[in-house]
Every structure is written in structure tokens, then in C-alpha cells.
Symmetry: C2
Subunit: 687 residues, 2 copies
């Protein structure tokens, strides 16, 4: 243990206390109400929680006061730029937890907090109703008359007039000959209560010590279907390098499958120095096209387009055409440079150098990546580096891009992301960022806290029933649920999971349905996925053989084996069923078979029960245990479950029902629960 | 939803961010390490955690950096008044969690935080050890020479000289003919590593955004055995009102039972107006002594002593004599007034008034407590009220009192407690406060956060095996464990639980052993407890019949039925076994019988397994499943479990062993696990 200089002291705690019971340096000693917690919260207010525009956002607070007096509690929320603070009365749900919700009207940053006060009027009513001594009740009515008189003084117009009248009535009744219950009835008059509660005495209200920050994103941040393709393989002619115009020609195909985000790997000039060959060969052959992630060459860097793909005009046209198909384009941002990237010469100080003066290539000994130079975030010129990197986003935003998939953000300095995403969303709150960080849990969570709108997950490696239940329960209901938005992929250009290497159709379908129904955000790497591409580069590898990362491929989109029709169907089901457009309601449902997984999502009366057979080789059956109460279903009456995949309807009774899934027919049911009066009416909206 | 004026914005979040990557208004853009969490924490730093002087305090932090560089992490701690910040190197325990501990040398307030930096030297060593290319290794040695040179520039004296020499050695070796492993060995030299790590480059270190506050209390805050008695009943002569001198005469009895806190109900003058009679009769008879909690009469209020009990000199003598017996006196502070309390006349503004001008007595309609006036914490004169109430503590502290048991703190304004306890502990950090708040969980936790050193619990109402396991797991390991210190009581003057009303000896013993071994802080209300007093005031009541709260009692301390000998024994076991002096290590142990509960506590090789038969009527037996690994025991070798209650020793083998408890013999084992080499050696210290 050593001693060092005195640490700066941090004012957060004192600051947090100021508003609760201090104000302008004075203690507010008459404050009796307590706001003990305001949830959701992320690291005690250090980071923002996330919400979706137009969707109710539920806030809970732990509030109480000393003794048995009644309190009233209000949620206060405010858009960052707005002048006005909105207030919503919170209702008690027991155990000193109060709840309310608000619906953010537009995207952007918000703040919310909670205020509470001991309410003299409510306390008075509560006591009065319990008094059994006529003498006390008469006294209490006099007290009430004074309270209502004070409320009148706080009111204006009609309310003031009405309250004055009520005060007189109470005073009069106090001396009347009326009996106990008659007197109590007067004090409990609905008019009196409604009007008086509009003018509470809040002089001694308590406000929570911290504001909670909230980032409100566009709907697509919470509900999106991603399709990734390599423009280089988009050409219909064998051998010809695909172009952005070829991609544009594929838009009807992608939109037809129901995807609303089209994600392109890097489209920039590709380095020639140390260019990799096919199947990641250390040295490429002539004509090899190299890896799109080896960014930068004579033609330019992160703000240029690979000439073989086309021009900036072609790109703008693609963005525009995509929008007409209801598709947003997502660009891949990989902050690293090929040795011939213009920045390497222009800004050598942005890179580490070796003693011989050469630039330090990427390495993780003993592995070396000589085609890639990482940035040195410890450079004294970091300010210019940060500006240049942010400038890359700005450049593509100016071309109409609103979604960025960021490559390996966990290998760049974390403070940069907090700054860059914060700045960009301040200027363009509609822009979304997907973090491609397949790394340790706390690192992935940090990136989400720093501002990433969505995050890749471990889904690809969660295959057993137990793994899926544990992981998706954590994602939907764990501590990260308020800021970490999962985006789940059955495959990526880097990850061909062993299960898919079997090439079994039932496995591909099961993994697609799981992704599309467990998570409101999901994506596939196509056409490899729908064409069930499944050859690994070598046994035990998760890399694709002849991967598009290093060469052109040509895909037979019309192949009979294609899953594209099924994918269109699944995405249509997602679009028409709100339950599948968020994860908050995810609840796993017991099935007495380890090869069958079942889970329920329900929103506003739309209830979807998905059942998947995880065994691609054998039919599996079992009994599903539904909690009908949760669904507001009557256990006595039969109800209909409607398989949206094959259109079949089944009549179920009670909570426990039989399911059988034959992999060769379909490994999954996506069952909409219909037929209970309530549910059916609400259903019509979505049919 | 209504709109109101703009809310003041709260700077906590910005403040919290300042230190992490901002300093003097500048972003520290080169900071790459991240401190994501520092634990324990209470409400994001809003409140202090609690520790015991002289006991190691364990801190965990979540730390990492971008990429694969190595980081170093240090815990920084500081006594509030101290100039120096102490630093402790933290060690990784996996999953990006780092841990270290420090032992607070004295009582008082402390603060701690965590700092982390990307360590160039450690990263260099880590990479070098993995390189398999001799050329790279030579280059790396040149890099290392520069790093060590820089370390030398940060060092002084011998270290500087040694590092200069090492830098030269590394540079030389880089150009030598030595082979791969020889070169790696040089860079890994223990001397080089030790010295170089003493002089790290911390220019870009990250510090956590908030300081964690810590209150370090005297040992008795964490380990105490309380005995409550009514001085009024302390007289050995029938009918005579007990005195403080009588209490002094009882000190050998109390000390003999091994209690170290003697708690007295209020000793102040008792109101005569509306004085309650025996068994809480609405109207007392002449000569009734009234309730000690109806405080204040002509003779004075909270700073006076009831004349029948004696004088202030008697009181000081009692405090002194108690100290000589190793006992601290705890006073009961009940902030409420009898109608004839001097403050009622002197400070009418401290009380609520009814429309007829009379003072508002305590009530919870339809219940009325006309012998009690509560304070009005909303009075405009609150400042004077707060000062007067704090003055009560100050007065008794001046008489040598260091422990206060506060009556119903949850019926007084919470901000008052934070202020008063904060002020008092600033002046007298050794003073302890026990919160007598039998109320809702969040309210009890708030009081603990505000500064109460110990808290009463629901123990009295937790009787089944499942209830006890759930509740004590929460107390020992739940979110409140860092600030809520339980003090558990099998009985109090207000709570004679139905189970004890049976009067069964086995139940009294079981409840005592459970309290004394599950919780390091516990207490009993005696002599009612050891004499197994068990008559309720009426069926279904938890009040004692002929309660001392309203009348004098005389206790036959020498009665044959007395449990005092057993209590001495149990308290002696607690004193000689560190495992029973804290709750951090509490772990419940499986037993295949719902009437048997078993749990383990182990500290520094002292391991205590307690097994209790919850059935007072029948012998119960079962198999206990010990995790021997947890205890560092060898599953193959036999070991001895020593019942400290009856002195018997049993030889056990393996994890699964048989226990049988006959209530008529003893309902409990307190087994010290001995006999494994390691354990035995450590044991000797305590034998």
C-alpha cells in the first residue's frame, strides 16, 4: 500500500443531496416525503436508459413518508430542449412502489425524475373515513374546511369559487345535527375530491436527488429486420464484380422478404499492400479482390467508394431507392487502415510506430494482421483523430445514411464512442448504431451504456433449450434490459455455427424462427442464409469456405432450396403482430420435453406463443403449460390458437395442451392465441 | 398531465463524468481504461456503506480497456479528515472483476474509489511471452528498452539506477545472438518486473466517476449481545420501585450471562395527564407508574431522570460501573411528549393543534393515544425542534452514553435522522444508533441508509425453516447487506410471539440459539426471556400480561427454570468463535428434514455449523450435506465436529453426515468443525 497525492473530491453525492432536502444552501427541514428510488436507472444516473418514440415508457419509484400520512407522487419528464416539465400522477402498486408511464412524443434526449409530498387533504380524507366518534368527525370537518379554504386560495376561477363553497359546506356541517355517516359522505363527495386534489399544497415536496437520462430512438431501434449482403456478389453475370446498381436491382428481392434494414459491408477502396487472398490466404494472387475491411488505397479511405462498386451518385440513388422500398441502408464502419490508406501518410502520428520507424500493424501475438493498421488512441493528436473519425459518420449521414453497424467497437477507446455517439445523436437523433462486439459481457454492456442503439449478442452460440431460456431471460429482464437492445443473428460472414454446418433445413428454419420471435431486432447474412450455405473453410472452423470476405460469389437466388418464401412469411408475421415488436413481455412457457422450447409474448391483447422443435432429426411432442390468467383467458371456455406459419387453427382448452412438431414438416409453430372475447376484438386491428 | 415551471437541472451526471474523462473542463481523450463499477455501492453513491474498524473491507471493481492490452487497477481509500490517499493494487478474479481489500485503522467516515490504466509495461511482457518469431522478439526488446528507460525517468535513487541498467541490458540483448527463449527470459526477470511495476506510466489513468462513502464503526456495531431490562423492576424488595442503583447491582448478573450492551427503556419523568393503567388500561388507578414512553412531567422531559429511579449521579455511576463489566449502556430515545411535558407549554409551535386550540394527540383512526403528543415536523420552527432533539442525544452522550435505541424512528421525519445522525457521528464517530422500526421493508432500509448503525428485524415472525432461510439469506447477501445491520430479538416488551406463548423450553432455547448464531448482533428482553415468561395479555395478543410497560414486576432471577446458564454459555461461544461475530459468511446447509435447519459460518479457519430442531415436541433427525471444499477439508480423511453446547465430539467422514436432535435434551448443536490439519491449527488461536 503506498501513499499518493490527495485525490480530488467528487461533488456528485453532495449534488445529489441538494435537491432532496437542500435548496439554495438551505436545508428544507419540513420535507417529510421520501423518493428512495426512481427506475429504470443505469449506474445511478451515470448513463441514459433507452426508449422508443410513441411507445409508453413505464417508470417506477419507491416513495413513502414517516408515520401514516398519505402521500402523492408525480413523475416529471422533460425533453432535453423543451421548456416545459410534464407531470404524471403516479399510482401505488403496493410495497411503497409507485408507477406511471409517459409516451415520448418525439425522438431525442429526455430526463425524468419523481416528486412526492405528504398530502394534507388525502390524509384528512383517509382518517375521516375511519373515524367512529361523531365528536371527532365534527372536529375533523372543521379541519377539512380550513384545508379546502387553503386549496381555494391556491386555485383560480371556477375551482376557487367551488372550493370556497365547499369550505363553507364543511364548516356548516361540522355544527349540523347530521349523523356520522352523513358527515363522512359529505367529505367524500367526488366533486370536492376531484377539484381539491387539483390544488395540493406542495410547499414541502421532495424531489429525487438525480435526474434519470433517457434516449428516445426511432421505432426501428426497437423493431428491425436486417439483411446483410456483399455488393461485390450482387452481379447477375458470372464473374463480373457487383455494383451498387446491382444492389439496387436486388431491392425488390430484399423488400419482398420483408427486411427493412439492408446492411452492406465496407464499400470503400481496398488496400493493395499485403492484400489477403481467397479463403484468407496470407498472400493474395493477382486479381484477388481482398477484404472490404482492409480499408483505404490510392483512391481514398473511409469517405470514398470502391470504384468497382460505382460512384457517390450511385450510392445516393441506392439510398433513395431503398427508402422507397421501406428499407434503410446500414453502412459498416471499421476504424482501421490498410497500409496504403491515405491517412497513414497524411497523419502518421495517428498510428504506433516500431523502433525501425515502420507503422505497427495489428497483432495479438503470436497472430499478426499485416494488412491492417490500428489507430493509436493514445496519440497526442487524439483530438484531430476523433474529429476525423466522427467526420466519417458525418460524411455518410450527409449522403442519407441513418444506420451504422460498427465493426469491433471494443478495440477502439471507449471515451471516443461516448463522445462521438453523443455528438452525432445531438445533431441527428434519428441515427442508430449497432455494436459488433462479440466479446466479454461487461465490455458489451459498456458499449450499450455509452450510446450504442443495438448490440450483437451470443445468440449464435446459444442452441440448447436451457441456454436459450437463460440467455433471453437475461436479455429481456436482466439489469441491462433498460439500455442493451439485442440484435440476434443466426449467421454472419464470420460465424457459420457448427449446427448450420450440418446443412439441415430444419435447423436453418428453427434458428430463423427463434431469432425472429425471441428478439424484436434480428438479422441474417444472405443470400448465404436462405440458400443454406453451410461448408466451413476447414473442419472446426466457423468461417465460410470461399467466403465473400475475400472473393466474389454468385448466388442462385431462384434456387428451389431457398428459404426466401418462409423468411417473407416470418417477417410478415412480425409486422402484423405487435407482440413480436418488443421483448419486454417475453415469458418462457413450460413444456415437458427438453427438445421443445415455448415462449409467449403479448402486447395490447396480441398474444403470440412460439413453440420450436430444437431436434432437426426427430418429431418431438409435449404438453405446453400456459398461464391463462396472464392472458385474461377463461380457463373454462375453449379458445383458438392460430398457427400463423401454416394457417392451421387448433381449439385448446385450459392451460395445458399438446403440441407435436415434425422437423420434416415444420420445426416451429408461431401460434396467435385467439378466441377469447377480449383477445378476439383486439385482434381485429391486426388482421 | 399538466405542465409546470421548468425543473432545476441536476448536475450529478455531468459531475460524475468529469473525473472519468474530463478534467479542468478538458476531455482527457487518451484515457483508454474503464472503471465501470465500484462495489459495494449504495444508491449510486448517495449513501455510505458500513464497515467495522480493524476488519478487512473488500472492494470489487469492474475494469477493462479496449483491445487486448493489459490494465492495472488500484483501489484508493482515504479517511475523511486524512490528507493521504492510500492505494492498494487490485487483482483480477475473472470476468473483468478486480478485487482488493483494506482495513480501516480507526472509526469515522472514509471514501474510496478505483483507478485503472492501460499498462504499457505489462502489455509488453504479456505479448513478448507469446511471440514465436525471433525477429519480432528482437524488435520487442528494443521497445521494452524504451519503456524501461521511461520508467527509470519516473524513478529515483536505486530504482532509477537499476532500471537504467535494465534498459541497457534489454537494448543490448535485442542485437545479441541469444535465442528466442533466452531473450524472453531476460524480459521476464523477476527483479526487472518488480522494480519496473513500481513506476508505471499513469498519465492516462481513468478514475471512477463517483467516490463511494464508507462509515467505519466500532466493533460493537457488528458484534453485540443486548440485554434489555426495566429499571423499575430491578428492586430486590417486593413492591419497591427499582432504582438505577438496583440496576447497578444487577450488572454482575448481566455480565455473567455474557451480554455487552445493557439497554434501558426510557428513564425520564413519566406524564401524569391521561396516564395509562396496568395492562394498558385507558385510565390508570392511583399509584400506577404509567408507561416510560409517555415522556415528560413537571419534573422535566427527555434530559431528566425519573426521581424514583435516582439522580444523574446515580446514572453516571451506572454507566461507569457497566463499563467496568465490559458493558455499554444503551438508552431508549422516544421523541414524543406526555401532555405535561415541559416542551408542550414552552414550545406549543412544535405540536399540531386542533381547531379548539387543544394539542393534537397521537392517533391512527379509529385508534387514539391521548397520553402522547407527537411532534409536528412540518412546523415552521423545525430548526429549533431539530436542535432540541439533537440536544437530547448530546446531553446523554455527555453523560457517557454511546448507544441509542431509537423508538419508532419511522414516525419522525427522515431528513431529520440523516442530519442528526450525520452531525452526531461527525462529532462522536463511536456513537451507535439502533432503529426500532418494525415497518415496511423499504422504510426500514431507508433508515439504515440514513445512518442507523443497526436495525431491528422481522426475525420474531420468521419461524419456519423456509422463512428463516429466505430472510437471513436476504439479510446476509441481499442488496442491503452493505448498509443494513440486523439486530435480532426472540422477544421484546411489545412482542411475545405466539410460539413463545406455548412456554415450551425447547422453543425458547431454539429461538435463542437461532438469534445468537444467525446474527452477530442479537438481544433479549429479560428477565422475561430467561424466565420463559409467556402469558399474553389476552388470547391472540402479542403483548405480555402484566407488562412492565405499565407496572412494576419482580423477577426471581434464581428460579430453577432460568435459562441464564445456557445464555452465558451461548454468549461465551460467540465471544470465542470469530465465525459468529459477522454474517458475511452465512451459508445454509442442506438437511433432508424440514424441521431441521443447518447453516455454516466460517472466518479465518474458524468454522461453525449450527443445526437447530424447529420442532419442540419431537426428536428430529436427518442428513446434513456439507461442502467440504468450501472448508478446505479433505473428503477422504475423517474430521471432528465439536458440539460447543454440550462438549461432545463426533467423528465425521465426507460431506454427508447424520444428526439427531431430541428437544427434551437439546434442540440445537453448535458444532465447531475441527480436525482437518488446516482448521485445527487455526483453531488453536481460539481455544
Amino acid at each position: 500500500m503506498k501513499e499518493s497525492a490527495v485525490a480530488e473530491r467528487q461533488p456528485a453525492v453532495q449534488a445529489a443531496r441538494r435537491i432532496e432536502i437542500h435548496q439554495d444552501g438551505q436545508i428544507r427541514g419540513q420535507v417529510r416525503a421520501v423518493v428512495d428510488a426512481v427506475l429504470p436507472e443505469v449506474d445511478g444516473g451515470r448513463f441514459a436508459a433507452k426508449a422508443i418514440v410513441g411507445r409508453p415508457y413505464v417508470v417506477r419509484a419507491h416513495c413513502f413518508a414517516d408515520g401514516h400520512d398519505r402521500i402523492r407522487v408525480r413523475l416529471q419528464w422533460q425533453a432535453d430542449e423543451a421548456r416545459n416539465v410534464h407531470e404524471v400522477e403516479m399510482e401505488p402498486e403496493g410495497n411503497d412502489v409507485w408507477t406511471a408511464s409517459f409516451t415520448p412524443p418525439q425522438i431525442g434526449r429526455y430526463a425524468y425524475t419523481v416528486t412526492a409530498w405528504v398530502d394534507a387533504f388525502d390524509s384528512w380524507r383517509h382518517d375521516l373515513a375511519r373515524r367512529d366518534d361523531i365528536v371527532d368527525v365534527r372536529v375533523a370537518l372543521q379541519v377539512g374546511a380550513l384545508l379546502v379554504e387553503e386549496a381555494a386560495d391556491r386555485a383560480r376561477g371556477d375551482d376557487r369559487r367551488d372550493l370556497k363553497r365547499w369550505a363553507a359546506t364543511l364548516a356548516r356541517s361540522a355544527t349540523s345535527e347530521l349523523g356520522l355517516h352523513a358527515l363522512q359522505a359529505i367529505a367524500d363527495d367526488a366533486d370536492l375530491v376531484r377539484i381539491a386534489r387539483r390544488h395540493p399544497d406542495r410547499r414541502h415536496e421532495a424531489r429525487f436527488g438525480e435526474e434519470r437520462q433517457l434516449v428516445v430512438d426511432p421505432e426501428r431501434a426497437g423493431f428491425s429486420s436486417w439483411y446483410e449482403l456483399f455488393p461485390r456478389s450482387a452481379s447477375p453475370e458470372p464473374g463480373r464484380h457487383g455494383t451498387l446498381r446491382d444492389v439496387q436491382a436486388l431491392l425488390p428481392y430484399v423488400a419482398g422478404m420483408g427486411f427493412d434494414v439492408l446492411y452492406l459491408p465496407p464499400i470503400h477502396p481496398i488496400g493493395r499492400v499485403n492484400r489477403k487472398g481467397r479463403n484468407n490466404a496470407r498472400v493474395g494472387a493477382d486479381g484477388d479482390v481482398g477484404s472490404p475491411w482492409a480499408i483505404g488505397a490510392a483512391e481514398g479511405g473511409h469517405t470514398e467508394i470502391l470504384p468497382e462498386l460505382g460512384t457517390l451518385d450511385d450510392f445516393r440513388a441506392l439510398v433513395e431507392a431503398a427508402r422507397e422500398h421501406g428499407i434503410q441502408l446500414a453502412l459498416d464502419i471499421a476504424f482501421q487502415c490498410a497500409p496504403d490508406h491515405p491517412w497513414v501518410k497524411a497523419h502518421p502520428q495517428w498510428f504506433r510506430h516500431r523502433p525501425d520507424g515502420s507503422v505497427q500493424y495489428a497483432e495479438n501475438p503470436p497472430k499478426k494482421y499485416q494488412d491492417i493498421y490500428p489507430f493509436d488512441f493514445e496519440t497526442d493528436d487524439w483530438r484531430a483523430l476523433w474529429d476525423a473519425l466522427k467526420g466519417v459518420f458525418d460524411h455518410w449521414i450527409a449522403q442519407g445514411v441513418t444506420i451504422f453497424r460498427v465493426d469491433n467497437p471494443h478495440t477502439k477507446a471507449f471515451p471516443f464512442w461516448e463522445w462521438a455517439i453523443g455528438e452525432i445523436k445531438r445533431e441527428h437523433p434519428d441515427v442508430l448504431f449497432l455494436a459488433e462486439a462479440f466479446t466479454r459481457p461487461k465490455v458489451m454492456h459498456r458499449l450499450a451504456k455509452l450510446g450504442y442503439s443495438q448490440s450483437y449478442t451470443y445468440y449464435t452460440w446459444r442452441n440448447s433449450k436451457a441456454e436459450l431460456i437463460e440467455y433471453f431471460t437475461e436479455l429481456a429482464h436482466g439489469p441491462g434490459a433498460s439500455y442493451f437492445r439485442p440484435n440476434v443473428w443466426p449467421n454472419t460472414p464470420d460465424i457459420l455455427h457448427e449446427r448450420l454446418q450440418s446443412g439441415k433445413r430444419a435447423t436453418f428454419i428453427a434458428r430463423l424462427v427463434l431469432a425472429a420471435t425471441l428478439s424484436s431486432n434480428y438479422g441474417v447474412y444472405g443470400p448465404a442464409f436462405e440458400l443454406m450455405e453451410h461448408q466451413p473453410r476447414e473442419p472446426g472452423s466457423e468461417e465460410y469456405r470461399d467466403s465473400e470476405k475475400y472473393q466474389l460469389r454468385r448466388w442462385d437466388l431462384a434456387a428451389a432450396r431457398s428459404l426466401s418464401a418462409l423468411m417473407s412469411h416470418v417477417n410478415a408475421i412480425r409486422r402484423t403482430n405487435p407482440a413480436l415488436q418488443s421483448n419486454d413481455s417475453l415469458a418462457f412457457v413450460p413444456v415437458d420435453n427438453d427438445q421443445l422450447i415455448a415462449y409467449l409474448k403479448h402486447v395490447d391483447g396480441n398474444a403470440i406463443l412460439t413453440v420450436v422443435n430444437l431436434d432437426p432429426d426427430r418429431a418431438q411432442s409435449g404438453w405446453v403449460d400456459l398461464d391463462l390468467g396472464l392472458l385474461g383467458l377463461d380457463g373454462q371456455r375453449p379458445y383458438v390458437v392460430h398457427d400463423l406459419l401454416d394457417g392451421q387453427r387448433y381449439e385448446w382448452r385450459g392451460g395445458r395442451n399438446y403440441v407435436l412438431l415434425r422437423p420434416e414438416v415444420s420445426p416451429a409453430h408461431i401460434l396467435r392465441i385467439e378466441g377469447s372475447g377480449r383477445t378476439e376484438r383486439d385482434m381485429e386491428r391486426f388482421q
